[in-house]
Amino acid sequence: MPLPPSGPRSTLASLALIAAICAGATGALAYTAGWLSPDRLTPTKLVDALAPPKGPVPGYRRNHAKGLCFTGVFEANGNGAALSRARAFETGRHPVLGRFNLGTPDPGAPDATVRVRGLGLQITADDGAVWRTAMINAPVFPVSSPEAFYALLRVPTSKAPNAMAAFVAAHPEFAPFGAWAKSPDWTASYAQEPYNSLNAFLFTNASGAEQAVRWSFRPQAQAERITPGDLAKRGEAYLEREITERVAAGPQRWSLILTVAEPGDPTADPSRAWPEGRRSVEAGILVVERIAPEADGPCRDVNFDPTILPDGIRVSDDPFPAARSAAYARSYDLRTAEAKDYPRSAAEAPR
């Protein structure tokens, strides 16, 4: 033993030092966890803000809650390989799993009350690499930052008069989305909608060249234009019935169009469309072959997290995929813990 034990005074000082180190470490952890920063925009806050006035519907996704599953294939034609080395772009048939949905936190919302329709998709390549994406039919996103999206979600609960007008005035980027949302030019089927990534991702090809890309699945089905008023007359869950019957009668197809940014294009801002005439590549065809109700369906417990990407695609400077990933995980954790509230048998599922 090299040294005698310390005397009482220095023992006290040593114990104080040890206590200070432990307290400091705990404080640093608390700070990192955001417990000392009530203003931090956390996934919990973002997801809570999505809840409808009566509160979230337990067991369901916290947004895009109304939907149904499908399976099919992505038939890659090989053209996408010029942009990305992801195996999903190599010529061949890659199995897919997906979900048609409506952009609402209420799984019982009538179809005609929801402007935004979505497509969640998972493509699995033969090497096992998984690509997930969640897209919507809007041509642009409403706002340019996750913070602005949070502010938008809080508009309905605002006590301020003309809160929406004030929001639009403060967020001029909202105008293109607002105009699209107001247009009565809806379609009568999930099969007739385009589904857009809106977010930009970085594609890396086999020679290492990297480019920012946005993508769209464009429908091969002819669009039947319908006003929300006429859609309402067809029933509250017409779209689910329609796509089920349509796919039972024959597979439905979308072309995957990859659009390449040019220098200076706003890759970080999904509220801004890229100029017309950008180079685009048709990379293949999505074939939806089979529809399944969500309660028992293969998409039910899948999180279509847009940051689950294969080698050859990665997130860009667009801040949304990270924010969406964080919020989707929170939603997933909540709803899987509430599975008992969403019975598996479709017949028992509340509607």
Binding site: M1, P5, S10, S14, T42, D317, T336
Partner: protein
């Protein structure tokens, strides 16, 4: 341990201190990533998974090295309750080093998430997708993380108590190679 029977070997010290850095980083990455929606969320998550697997592998290596090299005995005059606490806390530390990465991996598997590390290293699912299991594992991973943090703090406090108050050579046994305390005269 070394030939004098008082120190851990250089390999053991290297494993101890490098894993200490990794594990402490994991606590901060973990609580940081689940409380942010910023772009750093994506690299934090990838780092958390990659580092977790690295810690799991290092923990297994460490146990093997420990089995081969042994450990210096605790001071003979250490009171029995402190000896017991020392032994139990080390079982806890080793157990959590191995359990936490497995719980995280199993949790992602039960959530049908692909487990992809840096370098496009893809790990297979170790459980089928299951909502109830996902919830159970998520809770276990989360609560045990805080228990692990508390245990590491206790470990640090005890190590410093040995170094500063008892001055009994226990800290010197694992002190970073080349440090003053590591070269303490005996």
């Amino acid at each position: 341990m070394t030939a004098d029977g008082k120190h851990f070997t250089g390999v053991q010290r290297f494993l101890h201190w490098s894993m200490a850095a990794c594990i402490i980083a994991m606590f901060f990455i973990g609580v940081g990533m689940v409380s942010t929606i910023m772009p750093k969320y994506v690299p934090l998550l990838a780092t958390h998974k990659t580092l977790g697997v690295a810690i799991f592998v290092l923990a297994l290596v460490r146990l093997a090295v420990r089995a081969r090299s042994g450990a210096p005995p605790l001071p003979a005059d250490l009171p029995a309750p402190m000896k017991l606490a020392a032994h139990l806390s080390h079982y806890g530390l080793y157990g959590l080093m191995i359990a936490m990465p497995l719980l995280g991996w199993a949790m992602l598997s039960a959530g049908a998430y692909p487990v992809v590390l840096y370098g496009d290293i893809r790990l297979p699912a170790i459980l089928p997708q299951n909502a109830a299991l996902h919830t159970l594992l998520w809770n276990a991973h989360s609560y045990l993380a805080f228990a692990f943090f508390a245990l590491v703090l206790t470990h640090v406090a005890a190590a410093l108590f040995h170094a500063l108050v008892r001055r009994d050579g226990v800290f010197a046994a694992m002190a970073p190679v080349g440090s003053r305390s590591g070269a303490a005269p005996r």
